[in-house]
Symmetry: C2
């Protein structure tokens, strides 16, 4: 089965908004064997939307749109598609009651503008949206199949997964394109490539891509156009090889989150965690608490951005800070040990560094970060010089702090 | 002047990677009057890349590519374009010395794989990359102009801004497409739309778009195809009208960051800030410390995820927590006042809530968050029920905490 995507919004054409939906939908459709043959971005004008959808229907018989279903006046997709199919828009009581109860949950009342969101092209199946106010639509007619999803990413995602993919998978069949990601961190891309050796030859016809980001380098193996069973078997073998070569720098597969891996290891070992952050200013705590259920392992942390708070909240001796500086092995060690004692946790990690853009010196350039992990019996320290912007240095430092904790936890 | 974009990478076609570069480049080019007439995504195969670039050159005479310049074997763009232009790749000593010194700054040595990054098509102007190892290239020949940029976003961005835009702006002329964003927060999209009234008619021919996100709703006014002077004048008038209608919910324009606005207001008033976070787990601290120079205002914070730490680090009475619960007005108030006293700051903000997905009750559903802002003379509290995923609830709560602090600071 072949489908075209039409993503709607002036912002996409002018680049004001990034087309995350197009990418996410392409990936999800490929995985169930539906081929995306073209991606088009259309502006918020009814005639342009109708033309893009009509072109797509002519070529493939199936179009999936996102965007243009909101309550504001620049949202015109539904009207455009209804006119293309030659059907009127009709007020739908079920959709309206979904909208009213959604607002009630937030203890508010819908605005008049929301009423237009309850209008549905005659003959369309409503894909009920429990995560927002714009319903999805499934319009199957003489012209072909048009699926309309809201542009708000979490709503699009839920409707795609729960309502659209099962229906499309039932229509599609045959070969698939599947991928498997092995996630690594704390190793540069070029060093990782050297470890990989002749991997491209060894895993062919699968391919491998190196995807560097602030969390590390992801290795993505892809199986192209084969049956799902063969694809999964070959991907598993390729991933095992990638894991073996990347060694201790691997922390998971797929969309594994290092913070979740750390929490899981600590939970299994019965160890509680705490943090003491200076240059990352809460990012380590933010990463850990982003994981549902983190509270049984992560007790909390201290953001000791000023030297005064390093002393007051963690008991770091002011003399030590005066002698070695706040960005030093001694300070990192004292912060981690202080956090461990003051918070009464088993393992505490500290981060202190120079995130820039100012504050660097020849001995301690911007990007210099000291880490310490205090755990029962010992405190380990590590110094790394990160490259990049302030944000990249901070994100990489938070990821590295989590990696250093992971290496101190029982496997 | 007209240009085509070719973004390179299998990931883009299959949707494994989101094409942020394409959007960013389209925006930057529009702003200097260069029209992007087509966007194509090409896979990591030399013949496909060459075909996409050749097609683009034939239609417009100018192509800008991103991606495929890294050290790994899936990076083949440069070779493909050199062959298309019929020129060899030559080792460039200046580029190599840039690469070597970049690695030296991180106290490492380049890998053998990095040598290929110093190869340059004969006749190309090197756009020196101080932020990564892959140089940009400007290849102007009989076939037309091909500009090649690395795919790593921060590197692409810097080269685009410093090397490419000035050169292109010199070639282009005439009308531009420009936008101006007014940023609002803590007001739903539909309520904001009601406040706006007949804004579309009033600011025509400019358009306005509502762009909701976890930080709030951005209002983007756009002037299409007029001279830069007129565009800027009309945008200023439109933005003033948007600001007037949105009222107290406006916190800035463009890419204004609420955390930076808060820090600026506090700095002017000579007030220091601190935070006490439960459900946001460090996100408020993370937002504030993401701003360079935040340390003179933001002293630090406490991530008191467990009730024990709420008591030990902030002095919240255990009885109070037992009676009212950790998610309560009393707890929020005690946290903010405790943080203010313990940290010795002028203004402290607290956040305690239920981010979900578990932990909700009929009286306190998932998304319920209590805030308190303790400042000289008074403590104000606020309860909001946020909708969305755990991540959205946390991000929105962090943004709201910053908004509540801003409203307590002198204007």
């Amino acid at each position: 089965m072949r489908v075209e995507l039409v993503t709607i919004g002036n912002e996409l054409l002018l680049g004001f908004t990034v087309d995350t939906n197009g990418a996410e939908i392409a990936r999800a459709l490929s995985a169930v064997g539906v081929e995306v043959v073209r991606r088009t971005a259309a502006p918020d004008r009814a005639e342009e939307i109708a033309a893009a959808v009509a072109d797509g229907l002519r070529r493939t018989g199936a179009v999936l749109t996102t965007g243009g279903l909101g309550p504001t006046r620049d949202d015109v997709s539904k009207k455009a598609v209804a006119e293309l199919y030659g059907v009127p828009l009709e007020f739908d009581e079920v959709v309206w009651s979904d909208i009213v109860s959604r607002f009630a949950r937030a203890q508010r009342a819908p605005a008049a503008a929301n009423r237009s969101q309850a209008e549905v092209p005659r003959g369309a199946t409503v894909l009920r949206n429990k995560w927002g106010t714009a319903p999805g639509l499934w319009l199957d007619g003489e012209l072909g199949l048009t699926i309309m999803l809201p542009g708000v990413p979490p709503e699009m995602r839920k409707l795609l997964e729960l309502e659209v993919l099962p229906r499309l998978a039932a229509r599609a069949s045959g070969s698939v394109v599947r991928s498997l990601v092995v996630r690594t961190t704390a190793i540069p891309e070029s060093t990782l490539a050297e470890r990989m050796g002749e991997i491209e030859r060894e895993i062919a016809p699968l391919t491998v891509a190196y995807l560097p980001g602030t969390e590390g380098v992801d290795l993505r193996a892809t199986a192209w156009g084969m049956g799902p069973g063969e694809a999964d078997r070959r991907l598993r073998a390729a991933a095992d090889l990638l894991r073996e070569r990347a060694g201790e720098h691997v922390y998971g597969e797929g969309d594994a989150d290092l913070a979740a891996v750390v929490l899981e290891h600590a939970r299994r070992a019965g160890l509680s965690l705490g943090s003491a952050e200076s240059c990352t200013g809460g990012l380590v705590g933010g990463r850990l608490t982003d994981v549902p259920g983190s509270s049984d392992v992560f007790a909390g942390g201290v953001i000791c951005y000023s030297n005064r708070l390093k002393a007051e909240l963690l008991g770091v001796p002011p003399d030590l800070l005066a002698e070695h500086g706040a960005v030093s092995e001694a300070a990192a060690r004292a912060m981690a040990e202080g956090a461990r004692t003051r918070m009464g946790v088993d393992v505490a990690v500290s981060v202190t560094g120079i995130a820039g853009p100012g504050g660097g010196t020849p001995e301690k350039p911007v990007g210099t970060v000291w880490f310490a992990v205090a755990s029962p019996g010992a405190t380990e320290t590590r110094r790394i010089v990160f490259l990049g912007s302030r944000r990249e240095i901070r994100d990489r430092a938070a990821q590295t702090a989590l990696f250093l904790v992971l290496r101190r936890l029982p496997a």
